[in-house]
Symmetry: none
Subunit: 231 residues, 2 copies
DNA sequence: TACTAATCTTAACATAAAATTAACATAGAC
DNA sequence: GTCTATGTTAATTTTATGTTAAGATTAGTA
């Protein structure tokens, strides 16, 4: 997934910290927005619907914890991740606002490398979750002559190992997760490619073709005008 | 994982607290070890390789924070969890503690039930793919023409001694611990390098290359897009 | 403590595999 | 039959991994 489709909202009352974070994250290709207090943060968050909000705890007026709680109440921001920035010396009782609905905390002084890797990990976790790599704890899926081992990313057809590429693997995983359900192209895109990836029209078809070659034509049926299903 | 395979090292300078914690945790079936200061803690930790270290912050000589930092430097203890015990009012140190690489903090006064549930939650994170140097105390591992002697980091391939560096050694140990299992880069990082270490993208590849040179290309297979496995 | 050697990490670049695109073909709905 | 959605293919771009050597770090030793 390209970073430049990822929106991050930075909230801190100190301009130089905003500057510092902005600089390091823009370098990674993220789209950066800023707010200098909780109130502003709420307004901006509603407007831009960021993927991630980095929230300083200590701020005048509405503090980080409260801002977090408010953000959690807005349902267009359901999918937004929230991470706190905390400084050494701040009372932990505030940070305990982890329970306010934050997904991570990052402590100052912030090292750019650590920051970036934490953010990547956060976003990745979020994405994997959607792909149901983590929630669905069924690690081995069997359907007819097809067997998928999620632990090893291994697919077997009639007991013969078939090597699938990443996209093929996730595509198959999606279709097989609900046999007989017709998945629209949009659903496939958002699940396998992610919400904010734009690829051409024929991309899915090409992958479907490769998948059919590898696992057998009969399993993937085209419902013209609607999508594909696994049988 | 059965509780009686779990080793916990308790570190506190007050004997009665050690006693109290010991009693409650032994009741849960954990294997309990104790140390009464930071120095002793380090020695014992190296020796027993506990799953979890419960560390008091305030201690004479080496304090909890420092002990934590030192433990984090020992690579056999990469997968050891560290939790701080803190008295109310010592809030500042909790922040510092997280920075030092702690996984949790538990504040005094300690209620047995809370303690136990926190510990259970912590240990849950300990995924089973992780290399567990503690449970698998088999000192010599053999797989095909490869023989590993955990005592001295020495590996024999076709009866010829091969010297591996520590990183190479742990990497091999991880991969060989589950032949045919595909280990993702994330899994490798968190197991060999530890959660709190950030290294660049190419680091794993370099180590894989060196390992392949030393033990033979055929044993480590790249599954592009997913990870590596040992065969 | 400072020196030395070993190990680890980084960064730049190379390569192979995978993903995407674009041009064109085909089949089914109307 | 025409139109549109999908199929097919090969060329192209992008990405993940491989490789190398230099620089940084660490551990061992004087």
């Amino acid at each position: 997934m390209e970073n430049n489709n990822i929106k991050i909202l930075l909230v801190d009352d100190e301009a130089d910290i905003l500057e510092f974070l902005s600089y390091n994250l823009k370098k990674q290709g993220y789209q950066i927005f800023t707010a200098k207090n909780g109130k502003q943060a709420l307004i901006k968050a509603k407007e831009i619907i960021p993927h991630l909000v980095l929230l300083d705890i200590m701020m005048p007026e509405i503090d980080g914890i409260e801002a977090c709680e408010q953000i959690r109440k807005i349902d267009t921001l359901n999918n937004t991740l929230i991470a706190f920035l905390t400084a050494r010396g701040e009372d932990y009782s505030q940070i305990a606002g982890f329970e306010a609905g934050a997904d991570d905390y990052i402590s100052k002084p912030i090292k750019p490398k650590v920051l970036v890797s934490r953010i990547k990990a956060l976003l990745k976790r979020h994405n994997d979750y959607k792909l149901d790599l983590r929630i669905d704890n069924q690690k081995i899926i069997k359907n007819g002559n097809i067997l998928i081992d999620k632990n090893n990313y291994k697919v077997t057809v009639n007991n013969e190992i078939v090597n699938l590429t990443k996209k093929e693997f996730y595509l198959l995983l999606l279709l097989i997760s609900k046999p007989e359900k017709v998945f629209t192209r949009d659903e496939i895109f958002s699940s396998v490619w992610g919400e904010n990836v734009v690829v051409g029209d024929r991309t899915i078809d090409v992958h479907i073709k490769k998948l059919r070659e590898k696992i057998g034509d009969e399993h993937i049926v085209t419902i013209k005008g609607f999508g594909y299903k696994f049988v």
